[in-house]
Symmetry: C2
Subunit: 392 residues, 2 copies
């Protein structure tokens, strides 16, 4: 006979989901109301405004897709890419590959511009590809690669696209709330994110925003989007302006309570303050990791403070260390993906989880487990280095 | 400055979301763990088993899609319908029309077999269509039409499809947990449901199940599904057998806690007991409505006990009544859709909300509001009729 599920209380310092603020967990459990209730329509309007704040945009077409980040990605592609279109994709990790899958499933041609995993997207290569493909309709890239911890220069890439008359599709899943995301400043056209990274909310929703220019392209389509569920022309009849909202699908009411609370927390802290906190905790973690002989995959200029992708020392049993961290300390850190599998750990310091307590816990726990594994380390040195960083 | 959102405490007796059991709301707020955590993988296995129980199936390919019911519908179509395929769709309400949208967006041809809204699907018309379209690959229909409250004969329709070598796609969004759903008994091939109806869970997930035969068709495809997010070949790498689960997308962890608890509650009660409870409360509601001069749209043999679609008396101000119920009694009932808009109410008695208390509340509140609107009624008669029904 199955019984109620009571999860262990973990500390989530992987690539996401990250630790959820208890205020958000509590919000999820508030009483459900109807998806056409006038009070709920008011909440939807507030969520839109708060998303515009988080994305730094005035885009009217800003809303949370009722499904995880990969559905947000698909929303961008199925609404902007038609059969026969060419899309230039800058790939420097897992998610550029997923973009290629999306383009091809839309009947488009993907022109791949590849950079090494762990490096930023090279704007020169992108410019060469845009020149070589003058018919390209869209440039797609990942701002913050969750698989490698690398940040690319979104402003420059959007400017390049614009100068070649291309729309942009930008993945900000791991960046939103952790480092600067400036949709209007960049001039980005179609942008998706996730809730379970630096917004510290539970997974399951994908905030998206579309520029006026992208909205015009969608309205001018001569065919229906291949997805009914993700067709923005239909979704907007529910999420659009005015008090009258036409039923499209049943919104995930309680998940939206959580997202509202998460955005409110970010609004209360302020964007620059949240970004500074992520930098400060990253700096302290990096100081501690250095004493453990653990090196970053990404060079200092392009590191994401919220996702620390690090090479562990030779001879370390990757799975055994992660299992010990989980078993002894209830601490989750992430494994490597793709070519980095078995070579790196991904240590998240995202949103609510980006705090001094977690920095010390992670360093102390990792040091303990590495000592158990026979590594020669000076006990306490990692924590001391982080303490010094916080004090400086 | 926005503030935390505190919803009013409604009683949800519309077409869904229905009232959520507080056990489920509490489950949503349990601590988030990782989507690859071994403890979470164990929970996924339990959810699969409980879904098999609820659907009455042994299908291995049984899982909750990480998005609402309309994404569950789309999962069935994008995985089974290829460009050029013919699909016979029996339409007797809103959701048959949505199926047509899905087929056409998959590049298929939809052969529509239409029945009047409020009636069951006519098996004879379906048989005629299957005979006239020998190349048809799929028969799609809605078991319990949420827009009209009509139940169709799923067993007969599946048998018809089988005898014409057709797969079936069956919508059980409103039926699962409220009336008998017997996937293996029917021999249905691809079935989707929702969480916010008779499972009394929050909206946002869509349980699906696929027969061995449907799974073979999916494996034998010579092209990729047009949706990456809903491609079952990829989704199954995460939801499939064994302890090793490959990352596809980040599962909506806390929503799945809620679904697990909802299925557990159904399991504790038992399927026949849950169906009997829905019938009993429907019978009492119907007795009360009769005293108010309110008639059912659907004939007695095909009525859904969980969704009572009723014509209100001539001259009633539809919107004013629903607004008064919401304002004075915090009670939500549903409006009509499509050709039934402005003519009917849809009164849900779904899952946790299907209880004696709600029957009396709804009748008492409706009677009060109708009296306020100047209707000539005997005060208390509706409640008395329901009490008599419960006592009998």
């Amino acid at each position: 006979m199955p019984a109620s599920f009571h999860p262990p209380v973990r500390t989530l310092m992987g690539p996401g989901p990250s630790d959820v603020n208890p205020r958000i967990l509590e919000a999820l459990s508030r009483p459900t109301i109807g998806h056409l209730d006038p009070v709920f329509v008011g909440l939807m309007d507030e969520i839109k405004s708060l998303l515009q704040f988080a994305f730094q945009t005035k885009n009217a077409l800003t809303l949370p897709v009722s499904a995880p980040g990969s559905a947000g990605m698909e929303t961008c592609f199925v609404n902007l890419v038609s059969p026969g279109d060419t899309v230039v994709i800058a790939q420097n990790g897992v998610f550029g590959g997923r973009m290629q899958e999306n383009v091809e499933r839309c009947g488009g041609t993907a022109v791949m511009v590849k950079d090494e995993w762990g490096t930023a997207v090279d704007p020169q290569k992108v410019e060469d590809a845009l020149k070589a493909n003058p018919a390209a309709k869209v440039l797609a890239f990942v701002h913050a690669e969750t698989s490698t911890g690398a940040r690319s220069d979104a402003a420059s890439l959007c400017e390049l696209a614009s100068s070649h008359d291309c729309l942009t599709i930008v993945d900000t899943v791991t960046s939103l709330g952790g480092i600067e995301v400036d949709i209007d400043g960049w001039g980005a056209d179609a942008v998706y994110s996730g809730t379970q990274k630096c917004l510290s909310c539970v997974p399951g929703l994908s905030p998206v925003t579309f520029s006026e220019r992208a909205a015009e392209v969608i309205k001018a389509r001569d065919h229906r989007a291949q997805s009914w569920f993700l067709d923005l022309e239909l979704v907007m009849s529910y999420w659009g302006e005015g008090a009258q909202r036409a039923y499209h699908h049943t919104a995930p009411i309680n998940a939206l309570y959580g997202l509202h609370e998460a955005l409110l927390i970010l609004h209360e802290e302020g964007l620059p303050e949240a970004w500074a906190r992520h930098r400060r905790n990253h700096t302290a973690l990096a100081a501690g990791l250095q004493t453990l002989g653990i090196e970053f995959v990404v060079d200092a200029d392009h590191r994401l403070p919220q996702l620390n992708c690090v090479r562990f020392p030779d001879g370390i049993d990757d799975a055994a260390v992660r299992k010990a961290l989980l078993g002894q300390y209830q601490l989750e850190i992430g494994a490597g993906l793709g070519p980095l599998a078995g070579k790196v750990w991904r240590i998240g310091l995202m949103g609510f989880a980006s705090n001094q307590k977690n920095v010390l816990l992670c360093l102390g726990a990792l040091e303990s487990v590495l000592l158990q594994q026979g590594e020669k380390l000076e006990a306490g040195a990692a924590v001391a280095a982080a303490q010094a960083s916080f004090a400086s």
